[in-house]
Structure formats: C-alpha cells, structure tokens
Symmetry: C2
Subunit: 176 residues, 2 copies
C-alpha cells in the first residue's frame, strides 16, 4: 500500500501508538490500514466412494488437480463459501458436511479450510476448470495435486475413511 484508500494521501509505514507492529498509516486523515490473512474455503465432494477433483484452467498451477476451493467472500459463511466455490469450479451442488482440515499457509498470508461434502447430482467444468472428474481413492493423482493444502486435505480425508476425527491442522512450511 502506497496511498491512503480513504483520502488518497501518501501513507507511511510505522508502528502506531499503542500498537506493536508496522502498519500503513495515513498522517493526513489519521487512518491506520490493517492487513490481515485471507481465508480460502473448499470441500472434498464425495459420491459413492469417489472424490470430485478439478483440473485447473488458470495459473497458478494450470493443468494440476485441485479440490474445489477459493477465497471466501464478504456476505457468506465458511460453508457457503465452500459451496459457492464448488458451484463455480465444478458446476456441482453439494450437501456440506463438517469442517475437517485447517491449513496455515503463512507465507501467502492465508488460512485454508476444508469441509467434507456429498455430491448432489451432476458436475462439469466451470470457467476456471479444464475438466472435472471423480477419482477412486486409490486413483487420486497425488503427484499432480495443485497445492500442498489440498494434498493434506485429501490425505486426511482418505485416512478418516468416513469417520469424524475433528479438525486436522497443518502448517505449510516456508518455501513450499
């Protein structure tokens, strides 16, 4: 951030009074601009023992497979965000189950949350998807999964084997 979104003046980067962290501060209008981690929400949609994955049509990781997931938007709940992303990427409706994985991706300033879900009806390729397909657990293309958080979610989904073992937590190491 270089300019104040509120008044358009140049911002300076300093630790505000009563704070302990560097922030972008506007000395003209006095506003402190906080930057916080973003939420990515997704789900693992299952149908008769098979899992729905999407081959990405966009960068990063074009051509790699992912579970339906994306940035949570204002105005929706975590579960609604995961359902919307599934609709957008896989043209699919799901019955959302419980939250089962949380992954800190500190370097990217993100936390990724994954729900278990049950596929309802058909599916297809959304605008950001080259192809959507159902995989048996033994056929998951582990070496072609787009993101480490998705790999973690899929591993835990397979390990859970339908049981509810609470939320599996993970942290993506720096540089990966």
């Amino acid at each position: 951030m270089k300019y104040c979104p509120n008044c358009g003046s140049k911002v300076t980067c300093r630790v505000p009074d009563g704070d302990s962290r560097m922030r972008c501060v506007c000395d003209d209008c006095g506003q402190v601009h906080y930057e916080n981690p973003k939420i990515v929400v997704g789900c693992v949609p299952e149908h008769e023992g098979r899992i729905l994955l999407c081959k990405r049509a966009i960068e990063p990781r074009r051509g790699y497979w992912t579970v339906p997931a994306g940035f949570m938007e204002l105005g929706e709940s975590l579960a609604e965000g995961a359902a919307r992303e599934t609709r957008e990427e896989a043209c699919a409706e799901v019955q959302m189950g419980h939250l089962f994985a949380s992954v800190d991706v500190i370097e990217a300033g993100q936390v990724h949350f994954f729900f278990k879900a049950r596929l309802i009806g058909g599916f297809g390729a959304g605008e950001e998807t080259l192809e959507a397909a159902l995989f048996r657990k033994e056929d998951i293309p582990w070496r072609e999964i787009a993101f480490l958080s998705g790999t973690f979610a899929l591993q835990k989904f397979v390990e859970d084997a339908g049981e509810d073992n609470g939320v599996h937590m993970h942290r993506v190491p720096h540089g990966e």
Copy 2:
C-alpha cells in the same frame, strides 16, 4: 475505499470482467481491490476446572467479559494468533489444544475461531483488559459476556466437558 492504494487515483465500483461481484477497481493502474472476511482467533484457557476470562478495558463492550481473542495477524498461524492474543490480553502463556468452535459473523465480515487451551503459570490484565480472573463453570457471568461468539464458545466448552467433539459451528444472526 475511495482511492487506489497502489497509485492514488480515484477507484470506481463495478463488476470486473470475468467476475460476478462488485469490486473497487482502479481504471488508471488496472488493479482490482478485493475485500475479504477477517479472522478473529481466541482460546478458552482452563486451569484446574476454571476458565480464564478478561474484562474489556476498551470499546466495544468495555466492562464486559471475554475469552482472550482478537484479529489474526500476518506471519502467524491460527494457534499462534490465539496464543499471542492471550499473552496480550491476559499476560498468560497457554498450551494450545484443538480448535473446537467456528463462528461466522457475516454482518461484521468476520469468522471467529476458538481453541481449547491449558493455562501455564500466572496471568494478569493486559493493556486492553481491566481485570483477568478465573471462573468456575457454574460462575461464568453469562449475561456479561461481551460477544455472542464468545458466549457460543463458552457454552460449547462447558457442554464438551473435556471431550473432543470436533468443531462446533455457529452463525451469529443478522442484527445481533
């Protein structure tokens, strides 16, 4: 947002190409500015069957009790954020347990996450706290809890009675 944080020009609010939502867009430098929900992280620190609460010294809800919680910062994990908030608000170190509650506060554009935790050593009142104190479960001041998400977390914490029942999910209704 009125001005572009990147170049200082006035932004316009419209649906960008390939998007389906209104965004603040800069027609000069082309940047699209996304606004996303923020994460609040906290914990319920327990010590010999009693729960550590903080009486807020700041608005909103000055004088009301809360579990230690606050906005997650860049550069930390969910659990690290909850530990930092506990250090800041209650001058306390905790051993972080598992994530047990998630609350969508859609109107505020926030998601609140709560961990179970075990208090290690002493505690006190941080700068934003008037007083920190341990409460037996039967003495929790339910009518003086600052926020509905904290009330939900405390209720589920008490109901769980030490068991791990996964993540309890809740949505704060509009207008509350």
